[in-house]
């Protein structure tokens, strides 16, 4: 009974922390990127303030927009939030841990993407369709890279459950492996593409012709825009949490631990996410956006890396 209560409590805490961390992480990335480029940049809480202001504004719907424009942001944000609730954060053994299957997480993020694409096509404008076509094309390359990376993790941990993978990797059960490095690189490339970051897409661009993610949101306004921005921020947080859970699992509170280890875990988790966000900012400042037609090559390279990792693992486990 106590264990169940603890699991429920950690789950709720995790959800609250994730929601709080999402705008902060986005703000941190923007500020750090601006500083690295020699600008002062916006304050850390700017995404939060933007969202609150947008929520109070009157939304304007395009004339031919349908119910899809109104419903899609809620669907996308709930799917992303559910995916976030499945990714272990500061503690393990949360109440949803038995369902924390990487395939389901990928499916939920795909559901959010589908909602975004439909919203982009709904107003019947040129840029919305352009962004939608590009987004789905990128996903066709990102998905296999993601799933082959999951194959590598599942092979090492014996299961595709993220909680089980994190638990095993926290204890160092997987050892130090080259294939894990390759899988990490592939997952990072997928994360960049899924979150519309440089070099795949530029989240701060004002040039519509080069937009992918933002092009689908051009007609969104008011609370719908606030929900979409929150979804993008939350998706970034979920991906960073996923990378942290798999590749930086140290310091997580184990299942059934007390509040003290939760506190330590939460502090470490915050530090890990902030570190990853800073690394993202540094990477984005150092690299230029690539042409849209080069993105399939970029993600194809990620797929090949993941396949190579799997093949190496097959050979090494076969020899052992």
């Amino acid at each position: 009974m106590m264990a169940l209560l603890g699991a429920l409590l950690t789950q709720l805490l995790h959800g609250a922390l994730l929601l709080a961390a999402a705008p902060l992480l986005l703000g941190l990335t923007r500020t750090a990127k601006a500083r690295l480029m020699g600008r002062r940049g916006p304050p850390l809480l700017q995404p939060w303030r933007d969202a609150l202001r947008l929520l109070r504004k009157r939304p304007i719907l395009a004339e031919h927009a349908s119910v899809a424009t109104r419903a899609a942001p809620y669907l996308a944000l709930s799917a992303t939030l559910l995916a976030g609730l499945l990714v272990p954060g500061f503690a393990q053994g949360m109440i949803l841990a038995p369902f924390a299957d990487l395939l389901l997480i990928a499916g939920l993020l795909g559901l959010a993407r589908a909602a975004l694409v439909l919203a982009g096509l709904d107003a019947g404008t040129a840029f919305g369709g352009l962004g939608a076509g590009r987004e789905t094309a990128f996903a066709a390359f990102a998905e296999p890279a993601l799933l082959v990376s999951v194959l590598v993790l599942a092979l090492l941990a014996g299961s595709a459950n993220l909680d089980a993978i994190a638990a095993l990797f926290r204890e160092g059960g997987q050892g130090l492996r080259v294939s894990l490095l390759f899988a990490a690189l592939a997952l990072c490339a997928v994360a960049l593409a899924e979150n519309a970051r440089v070099p795949v897409d530029n989240p701060a661009t004002h040039l519509e012709l080069t937009m992918v993610h933002e092009a689908m949101l051009l007609e969104a306004s008011g609370r719908h825009l606030a929900l979409w921005e929150a979804q993008a921020a939350l998706k970034l947080a979920v991906w960073l949490a996923l990378l942290a859970a798999v590749f930086l699992p140290f310091g997580m509170a184990p299942a059934g631990a007390g509040p003290l280890s939760w506190l330590i875990g939460a502090a470490l988790w915050g530090a890990k996410l902030a570190g990853l966000a800073f690394a993202l900012a540094a990477f984005e400042s150092a690299i230029a956006k690539m042409r849209v037609f080069r993105v399939p090559e970029f993600l194809g390279a990620a797929l090949l890396l993941a396949l190579l990792a799997a093949a190496l693992l097959f050979v090494s486990t076969g020899l052992a």
Binding site: L81, F99, G110, L121, G133, E219
Partner: protein
């Protein structure tokens, strides 16, 4: 149960005859609906039974048998056929030929599924092939549709011949399935039989490289027939494959038989999903998506064979369950999507996305049903297509348990292909929904479309209900297939079901579709409340901002159609990145000249590479054979006599050789 099914088959034959005489075309459709409901019921109740019909050649009466595998596929047939038949009754079929063909088509499929011996199986399979060909040909007296029907007939004949050869190698004519199971083939006979059955059933199912007919023939038929062909007929071919490979060939066959099936399945899935992204006819998009799903099911069947050969029967059960569950889900959502496409074609007057758009405003019911079907086809949780894909991917993730390095690499490649096919299928479905139902109307006809009414409405709602049930009740439904899984893999294995959820053992992964839906709804409701509390005023309508483009002129009330994405334009990124894999592309660009008022144009012609690689050499070979045969006519008399004599001697020698024990 079986006698009722036998009576239903007889009734369908009678309805077909009545239809051919021009009597009661509408009642033929209603009768087909009743028979379909009976098939679905029999599929749900199942139960082993055998019935000998008082028909057939002397000494080998036609035998019907209902076992768990037939029951499962009967359920699939019923789920597709019931709404399709209602749509046919609502005016989906017209004319004597179609009224005769529709019940016969249904009867052929049911007979193939219920067959208890080789002869009945072949009879049902051929009746199904011929009836469906007649249904395609009847709609098109000439033109492209007629050419598609001819191509289909060619492939159907090839498939029938291969299947005949394969089944003849398996057993003496007239032997029941029980007799084949008792003495399964061995050695080269087994290998040859497998190869022939794979060719025969595979070309009927549309596996690469025999897929060319499918995206042409399926859309050419009437809407309910398209739904049946795509949702059910290809499943009958897969049933034959599963029946022979898993059941009749016996459990002792080597596992590597799964490898070609896996490779073909993965290639077909990718090919179909890619082509679904480039087609310009909504029914052709759906037919290409059928190729994709067929590939996924074949991949799962091959994987199950590999696991079974390596004595990993729990994993084989997962892969086989994935195939069975996906067959049911695909039947449900593809039937629904074809009915929606038919309603769009009828009410909005076109199947070309470039002449549609914005239909969600005038056709809310059809749009909602299509959205449900498309989300299922896109394999998004918690919709119908996800459960089967989830099981398949879980089985692929466990593929490293096969000790063989080559098999492991094959599985890793198949995983990448399956993942890419899933993402491509999602892209195709989003493009379909976005172009047809969202956005602005592209023609006045699309702007004036009306929603489905009357019986068509009932058919759509019923199909949507099946689709939702296949999504939310995936666990209990798969529980029905438990007997089939156990029968094909040996007693210990069972379907990976735990209550309402799919579950791979105690500590393994779990997926509960109802829980996912509940959680999503709960979160969305909480979000909605939270956003409402912020107290923003109600939304207002205004012209689309469109990055500050000028408003359209007054004579274009729905805006300039050229500023909306077109079917070719929406597919451009994928076509550019992956198109050349499957398609021979010809693009003609005419850029806008500076200062000229004419818009830039991009014209794309795409043709499946299979035409150049498979059909063109065949056509050349036929022409050459014709020329060679012409030369025979000029032979002198002596040579003619020698030829006839030589043939006679050769045939006698063959007879003598075969007659020796």
């Amino acid at each position: 149960m079986l006698s009722a099914l036998g009576l239903a088959l007889g009734g369908l034959l009678g309805l077909g005859l009545a239809g051919a005489l021009g009597l009661a075309a509408r009642w033929a459709a209603f009768g087909a609906a009743a028979a379909a409901a009976l098939f679905a019921l029999a599929g749900l109740l199942g139960g082993p039974a055998v019935l000998d019909l008082p028909l057939g050649p002397p000494g080998a009466a036609l035998r019907l048998s209902l076992d768990p595998l037939s029951a499962w596929f009967l359920l699939v047939l019923g789920v597709v056929a019931l709404p399709a038949a209602l749509m046919a009754a609502a005016g989906g079929i017209a004319g004597r030929a179609e009224a005769a063909g529709f019940p016969l088509f249904l009867a052929g499929m049911a007979l193939a599924l219920l067959a208890g011996d080789v002869l009945t199986l072949l009879l049902g399979f051929e009746a199904m092939s011929l009836a469906s060909w007649a249904l395609v040909a009847a709609r098109h007296p000439a033109g492209a549709g007629r050419r598609a029907a001819r191509l289909y007939l060619g492939f159907a004949a090839f498939s029938g011949l291969c299947l005949l050869g394969g089944l003849a190698l398996l057993a003496a004519p007239g032997a029941g399935f029980a007799a084949i199971r008792a003495a399964p083939p061995e050695g080269w006979r087994a290998a040859a039989a497998m190869a022939l059955v794979l060719l025969g059933a595979g070309s009927k199912a549309g596996l690469l490289p025999f897929h060319l007919w499918l995206p042409l023939a399926h859309p050419a038929a009437a809407t309910p027939v398209s739904a049946l062909m795509s949702g059910a007929m290809v499943k009958v071919a897969l049933y034959v494959l599963a029946r022979v490979l898993f059941d009749l060939a016996g459990p002792a066959q080597p596992g590597w038989w799964g490898a070609p099936l896996m490779a073909l399945g993965a290639a077909t899935a990718l090919w179909g999903a890619l082509r679904a992204n480039t087609e310009r006819d909504i029914k052709a998009i759906l037919a290409c998506s059928t190729l994709d799903n067929l590939g996924v099911i074949a991949l799962a069947l091959g994987l199950a064979l590999l696991f079974r050969g390596a004595d990993l029967s729990p994993l084989a059960a997962v892969a086989l369950s994935a195939a069975l569950l996906h067959a049911l889900a695909h039947g449900a959502f593809k039937g629904l999507l074809f009915l929606c496409a038919g309603a769009v074609a009828e009410r909005a007057g076109s199947r070309d996305p470039d002449r549609l758009g914005g239909l969600i405003h005038n056709m809310p019911l059809v749009a909602g049903a299509a959205l449900l079907g498309a989300a299922s086809a896109a394999a998004l949780p918690p919709f119908a297509g996800f459960a089967g894909e989830w099981l398949l991917l879980q089985a692929l993730l466990q593929g490293w348990r096969l000790a063989d390095l080559a098999a492991q690499l094959l599985i890793a490649a198949a995983l990448a292909a399956a993942a890419m096919a899933a993402a491509l299928a999602a892209a195709a479905m989003l493009r379909l929904i976005g172009l047809v139902f969202l956005g602005r109307p592209r023609t006045p006809r699309a702007a004036g479309a009306g929603d489905a009414a009357g019986l068509a409405r009932v058919a759509l709602l019923l199909a949507a209900l099946f689709c939702a049930a296949a999504a939310l009740l995936a666990g209990p439904l798969l529980g029905l297939a438990d007997g089939a899984v156990a029968a094909l893999l040996g007693g210990a294995a069972g379907a990976p079901v735990h209550g309402l959820s799919l579950s791979l053992g105690e500590a393994g992964a779990r997926y509960a579709p109802a829980a996912v839906l509940g959680a999503l709804l709960l979160l969305a409701a909480l979000l909605w409340r939270a956003v409402r509390r912020a107290g923003a005023p109600a939304a207002q309508r205004g012209p689309a901002w469109d990055c500050g483009f000028q408003p359209p002129p007054a004579h274009l009330p729905f805006g300039d159609p050229l500023t909306q994405p077109s079917a070719a334009g929406a597919a451009q990124p994928l076509r550019r990145a992956l198109g050349p894999l499957a398609l021979a592309l010809r693009e003609a660009q005419s850029p806008a000249a500076p200062g000229a008022a004419a818009p830039a144009r991009l014209q794309v012609a795409a043709r499946d590479r299979g035409f150049g690689a498979l059909l063109a050499p065949l056509a050349r070979a036929r022409r050459r054979a014709g020329h060679e045969a012409e030369r025979l006519r000029n032979l002198p008399l002596g040579a003619c006599l020698a030829l006839a004599f030589g043939t006679l001697v050769g045939l006698l020698a063959l007879l003598a050789g075969l007659g020796r024990p």
